[in-house]
Symmetry: C2
DNA sequence: CCATCATTTGCAGTATGACGCAAATGAACA
DNA sequence: TGTTCATTTGCGTCATACTGCAAATGATGG
């Protein structure tokens, strides 16, 4: 096929109400959270409440500390974690507000994009892979 | 290292308020949306408003129709798309409500998990990778 | 039954990502 | 300056994922 830009293929953002859905749904954000280990690190930092060093985080995880360092950097680059140096150690903490607002922003964008469908059906609870046909 | 279950590594879900954060943040959901092409397909179906056949979706995307079929199946398995057969063609549509409630559920879980940090700082707008130190 | 169309699946090639180990970098301290 | 500790990075290996092509499956119509 002709090589086009892989980013945003065909999201022909027609109406003004859904012009930013393509800007909200960033693959890098999902890519940062698509790994189970990284999810675990985020949960660990989120439940901890306070910043933790790379070593402290690595103690709770069955992978090498170098791998943890890389995972934390990925989450940091995605804006999910905050980092601060304290002497020779680096402390990571979760950017709750940013992650929460990012998630809500995506939800709002999708909802604004499809107003005709919003507010019908079972809109509560988490989704479960439904099979409309066996 | 000793081979533990890769799912949910170390999320030691201490308090009762954040006991479900590990259940909300599912890697499979993020994995389904971590590919730019799949994001494009979701946006295309979301902005379209109505169900589209695999061929219709594939026309808007510079990849082979077989690849599109696989991508749509992945999104369907993740509960992001709905499918319905009409004769010999298959129509996919976005499960707005499910995706929106999933995103909001994750946001709520994170927020409930870290109450001490909620409601401070710039909690509006999308996140941007900040570097607390250069 | 056979032909046709839409979709899915098998297969192989290539690319991306996770991982562990070892070496390098950076900061504090004697 | 040299040492020590925490963290990062280079590198090779292995697993997973994306892609296109071709064949198979499934449904409709002659």
């Amino acid at each position: 096929m002709t090589q086009m830009n892989k980013q945003n293929v065909g999201p022909r953002t027609g109406c003004a109400c859904c012009c930013d859905i393509g800007d909200r749904l960033k693959p890098d954000f999902f890519k940062a959270l698509c790994d189970p280990t990284r999810i675990g690190l985020l949960i660990q930092l989120a439940t901890s409440g306070e910043a933790q060093t790379v070593s402290q985080v690595a103690e709770q995880v069955p992978v090498d500390i170098s791998v943890v360092s890389r995972h934390l950097a990925i989450l940091r680059d995605a804006g999910i974690l905050r980092v601060q140096r304290q002497g020779k150690e680096v402390r990571y903490s979760a950017r709750y507000e940013g992650v929460v607002s990012t998630l809500r922003g995506m939800a709002d964008a999708i909802e604004a994009c499809c107003p005709s469908q919003a507010g019908r059906g079972t809109a509560t609870g988490s989704i479960e892979a439904v099979q409309d046909e066996s």
